[in-house]
Amino acid sequence: MSEKVVIVGAGPAGVRAAEALVRAGLRPIVIDEGTRSGGQIYRRQPEGFKRPYETLYGSEARRARSVHETFDALRPDIDYRPETLVWNVAEGHVWAARAGETEAIAYDRLIVCSGATDRLAPVPGWQLAGCYSLGGSQVALKAQACSIGGEVVFMGTGPLLYYVASQYVKAGANVAAVLDTSPFAGRVKALPKLTEQPDLLWQGMKLTFGLKRAGVTVLSGVTPVEISGDSEIGVSGVTVRTASGTLSRFACDAVAMGWHLRPETQIADLARASFSFDLRTRQWLPEIDGDGRALVPGLYLAGDGAKILGARSAEVTGELAAIAALADMGHAIDKDRRRHLRAMRARYVRFAEGLAEAFPWPHQFVADTADSTVVCRCEGVTAGTLRASVSEAFATETNRAKSFSRVGMGRCQGRYCGNASAEIVSALRGEPVECSGRLRGQAPVKPIPVATARTDA
């Protein structure tokens, strides 16, 4: 058995996939954009920082430690490539770039554990300095012990909203408000599914109580109205319409926003995975079987990069994908273990369905945004310009609207405006959102310099 397996990503999914492969006697290549493994959720602090696990990861400290220690123990048995970007995939090779150099790395099996980024909704004023994604605000805190501002508003929806806000409170930052667009009633309705993970549900409730006990205003069912400020000073406040219909303004100098997560599917897309629309989360997801096999032979997807199931599930799906790859390579596998992992995954799926119900993407709010709202921050394109690409230039779907209006054509390549663009285009055309299509992924996965040169040719 000398099949080459490449794992992309060293978060919980990538680490557990590598562990299963090493256990079977393989030496996988693990390519990590980060410097020290851990991924986003279990991001490790830089060398020399000495904050304890409990401070950094709270209730997930034990899991974070286990993932880190597993990875450290695996180091001699894997070919680890930190600070390395997979920027393209073609003909059985991943193209990996590091420090201005690139090489094509051949694989027989590719396990993509590419994680997730925040799903963002355009809010009038969100292009002002001082607006961050929830993930970005968490990175500032976790990696560098920095707050994004002196007075921070958290706005959006999803468990991460409460989690990051609580981390900020714990770190001593001033949290002006936590503003959730989801109505409280939806969370009550989702309770039966959320009880699949009783301790996570309990953690979530504790976070909300903790925020309130700390004196933080926590509102549900809000409709964002505006992030105010100007180009000189950046953000100065957030105005929302509360569930009871009154306008409320919160003074602040920074806003952290996120509406749950979206999978990073660019690598899967470049590896020619097929996609289907997930109506529950209103996102396009790569098609995989229950173990993570994509329809393309040799391609496996795990963790939140395949479907948003959370960090705990990522450990399960990472191992499942590795077991699937091992089985496909003709290795004997532990079927009891696989059965157990599949059952765990099923429970995380049900829990994630509950989260999607409890913290829905506010698609109507997005579709209704004013013509003056900037939708694409990279290119500074407004909803009005996007709509004109439909009403005046006859774009029928989101790729065409991108081509005419530049929405999604900038540095982020549609990561932060793609979901919103699809909602706005489909609403204007009076069609279900899936009819407005999926922004096709194009290399590079993230920007690469023209200076990039091959080391293997």
């Binding site: 073609a90 193209w95 094509a104 006859f394 029928t396 530049r406 900038g410 194009q442 290399a443 920007p447």
Partner: protein
Amino acid sequence: MIAPEATADVAIIGGGLMGCSAAFFLAQRGLSVLLLETDKVGRQASGTNFGNVRRQGRPIFQLPLANRASRIWRQASELLGSDVEYLQNGHIRVCFRDRPENVGKMEEYAAQAREEGLDLELLSGNMLREKFPWLGPDVLAGSHSALDGHANPRLAAPAFARAAMKLGAQVVEDTKIVHAAKVGEDFVLEAEDGRRFRAPTLLVTAGAWAGKIVSQFGEPVKLTPRAPTMSVTEPVPYSILPAVGVMTPDEVETVYFRQVARGNIVLGGSLRAPSYPDEYRAYVMPENTMTQFQHLRRLAPALARLQVIRVWSGIEGYTDDALPVMGASDTVSGLFYAFGFSGSGFQIGPGVGETMAEIIATGTTDIPIEQYAIRRFREGG
């Protein structure tokens, strides 16, 4: 039940820049037009090319057509009622130091081009670097065409289609014609879903897909589908006015770039990949992106520090002699062709559309097109 048929004076198969501009100029001449497009207008070669509105470097006999196209580009925004981002900031064609023989070729070309009304200024490497300090030391000499420029391919063909619609043309997207035949005096075209279209005149502007249609009329042409290697950088302050390209016989070295008003630098060139017209897919090969970067760094070393944010490609149809098929069918009356532009169709596109409209409406044109006759591909020559 017989499906209802849409009819027009002229049916056009293929909604690229050739088909869309022909539709516009035919409609302008008062003819009714049916433009049939498999996908969306201007999405493949017409929408994904580099956007060079470049005359120099074309065969001398093509310059009258290119000049006609240039006149249209200059007034495109007014003509079409929408901005196609045409910037007439000049075009520079340079040669590298290791190919000194190209300097003589440039001089010879410039002398011939002048006869056809294209003025080119030859400049030494140092003169060029004085004017355009971002050019690298490897640049030996260059030829500057002040009245050429570049435009936005994503916008051009759809703008022609919309302008044609305003003049009454019917533009039918998402309609793949699978069968075309002349029945009596009319061409009858059948779409994949059974819809039928009828017209006494047919223009085939189906690019890389034209081969299947023309063989139904007994005039097979070999077309090789290829995929250009394209990239774009993040935006930087607007400072590079002309489009720049390298003259070389070696495809891997053929790099070119232009800066759009928004600030991004669009790159093209180096090796082309195969493409797949039946699946409607074209892929950028990463190794071609890398050779493109390599030769771009020779051409303009300062650009090495920019980040490329996106690559793309599209489906182009190449003939064996790299010249298009353009003009009337050799065997079927009322049948006209304009396809196989072999990666060099964008600049001349509007000129092709206007010339085909002229030929269809009047039966003749002053533009020399005999080199493009389909009969050159007839078996036995």
